[in-house]
Amino acid sequence: MSLRPLRPMRTKFGAGLLAGVTVFALAACTSNESGNDDEDLGGGTSAAEQGSNDESGDTVVIGFSAPAADHGWMGSITESARNVAEQYDDIDLRVAEGTNDVNLQISQVETFINDKVDAIVLLPFDGAAMTPVALKAMEAGIPVINVDREFDDPNAARVTVLGDNYGMGVSAGAYVCSQVGDNPDAVVAEIAGIDSLPLTQDRSQGFEDALSECGLDVDNRVAADFTVEGGEEAAANLLQAAPQIDALWNHDDDQGVGVLAAIENAGRDEFIMVGGAGSRNAMDAIKADDSVLKATVIYPSTQAADGVKLARLLVQEKAMSDLVEVEVPRMVQLYAPVVTADNVDQFIDTAFAS
């Protein structure tokens, strides 16, 4: 009996094609300097120049729905969306608070449709399960901005904002190469997230591909589950199995708290560690430079905030002003930059608290 899901291939191809055409490296999605404590995500209607995209326009009502904030990254998704909405006096953001029950999330979107909001920004708990209701919204003339977890029908969203899981692996692998690539016998270890998820497989594939560029491969690999406890357990096992490591990539900074605890307990410090996602405490540790953690690869938690900004542009019939195109692109894929002690100040203000 075959138990594979039904139409992943077709979707993947379509998505890949689109991604190929419209990949934008929105490096860390904030080009502004933000020295203040409040996260400044690049809004600011009052200070906007005449004729710029930030100039106040007609009020845009945006419905927003995301899964429950059960880990730091997801919490930051909603928080940064709210923050960016507050910076514009022409955005009326209606946040239906996080739920991991698709039945409830569908009903939230139905409420937005009944309300005839101008646009919907949706990070689905499950992309495929939310596709029918997103199609319904699009049919009702409400543009849907799909964030992070893709629908299985390209017609269900006007714009899709995605992170780059494969790119995370590539960035992490390239950084490891730059650090230990001189030694052809270097031992590289990997602590993955939930192994059965496509995103984990993409990350691992990117890591493997980038490592092979400098003749390295993954010698020890374990999988955890994105939680602190799981990270601790997996790392403890890994350290036991590998008495000597040169470089370690941990996919996720939330589980990284546990990974670092296990490393501390084992008293190991002979290797460099690279994190993933880009949490505040990981960046603090990189900045302080007092642990094995030397770098992390960003998976932006501000992508829903970008979704809100794009929704505003879309409804106000503006374009992304740095591009020639007169319409907002179909898909925006975010870049996965490596954060080290050298450039940590540039990213630390958009990091999420885990």
Binding site: S2, P5, L6, E97, N100, S107, D115, A129, L197
Partner: protein, 341 residues
């Protein structure tokens, strides 16, 4: 001496209770439901006052009913189990397993080759099967319902994850989708299905021998056994019935999302038990009300809707939900203590 004093005191207490006109009205079954209707109306007034036409539109009412349908069907089944003196913590997990099992490639291929009813059969069979296991463990294995269904909660979701490999399974059976996603006179089919299940549940509980036996088994199993009821067999029937309801709910959620997934139905056991309890069904068994359960479900889903419309957080809503449950149970105890004295 002390015994007679106690008796006098109790009698006095009872008199004061009967004298309280509000409690006296609430004690009758019509009165209890009236209380719930008033609570629901109050919620609607709050909704209409804070959200105006956005709340009081036909579209919004249908949104509430679509949300209520899935959890409502589960709650109807739960009413029977709780009335029969049991409890089932595994409903969400059974729903997930049924949704996964009936959307595997193999089942869908079969459905496309033969008829989409194959999927309906699969979901109902999985639900009933899980219910049967629960029932047998509890009635004949002597396992406490709480523990038996806790075990089912863990293993059914685990099996669902194994079968689906934790992936979401997309449904591509046109006949199935056409049947369940259609609207009849502007009313979504799943809402009609909910009404049908509720009506069937009401008849079954109030107008049949099966219903009277359920009340007897829940109220006093020993007396029921002496009266010639096969208590063990009846208990099994109750869990199978709830399993079937979970199968129906799984079909509803499949049609709503076009997917089967091991994550469907998370925490539905708590929502269902809460709805049943505030509806007026006694957690200790022996008394149950389908009308109350339906009202309970509607109260919670309307609450969710009003909060969403007003842009309020889920956390505040959970807090209020907890308060409603406590208030309902406290009231219920005041009313029920009369029956036990």
């Amino acid at each position: 001496m002390t015994e007679s004093t106690a008796r006098v005191e109790r009698a006095a207490l009872e008199t004061t209770r009967t004298d309280n006109p509000v409690l006296a009205v609430l004690r009758t079954s019509v009165g209890r439901n009236l209380g719930l209707v008033v609570a629901l109306l109050l919620l609607c007034v709050v909704g209409a006052a804070t959200a105006g036409d956005r709340f009081a539109s036909m579209d919004n009412v249908l949104t509430i009913l679509r949300l209520a349908a899935t959890i409502g069907v589960v709650s109807i089944g739960m009413t029977f189990v709780i009335t029969g003196g049991g409890i089932d913590l595994s409903v969400g997990a059974i729903l997930a397993l049924a949704s996964v099992w009936c959307t595997t490639v193999a089942t869908q291929d079969l459905a496309n080759d033969l008829h989409w009813m194959v999927m309906v059969g699969a979901a109902l069979a999985v639900g009933a099967g899980c219910g049967l296991v629960n029932g047998l463990l509890i009635a004949y294995g002597g396992v406490v319902p709480f523990i038996a269904t806790l075990a089912m909660l863990a293993s059914a979701r685990g099996l669902a994850e194994i079968i689906s490999d934790r992936k979401t399974q997309i449904v591509d059976v046109p006949g199935f989708q056409d049947f369940f996603a259609r609207e009849i006179l502007g009313v979504p089919f799943i809402v009609i299905l909910f009404v049908l299940v509720a009506a069937a549940g009401w008849v079954l509980l109030n107008r049949t021998t099966f219903g009277r036996r359920t009340l007897a088994v829940g109220g006093n199993p020993e007396a029921a056994r002496l009266a010639g009821i096969n208590v063990k067999r009846h208990t099994v029937y109750l869990y199978v019935l709830l399993g079937l309801c979970c199968g129906v709910a799984a079909l509803m959620i499949i049609s709503r999302t076009t997917t089967g997934s091991s994550t469907h139905g998370g925490l539905y056991e708590l929502d269902a038990i809460a709805a049943v309890v505030i509806g007026g069904t006694l957690l200790s068994g022996g008394r149950g009300t389908i009308v109350g359960t339906v009202l309970g479900v509607l109260i919670f889903t309307t609450l969710t809707n009003v909060f969403t419309l007003n842009n309020r957080s889920i956390s505040e809503q959970s807090l209020l939900k907890g308060a409603i449950i406590v208030a309902a149970v406290l009231l219920q105890q005041r009313l029920a203590s009369r029956n036990t004295t």
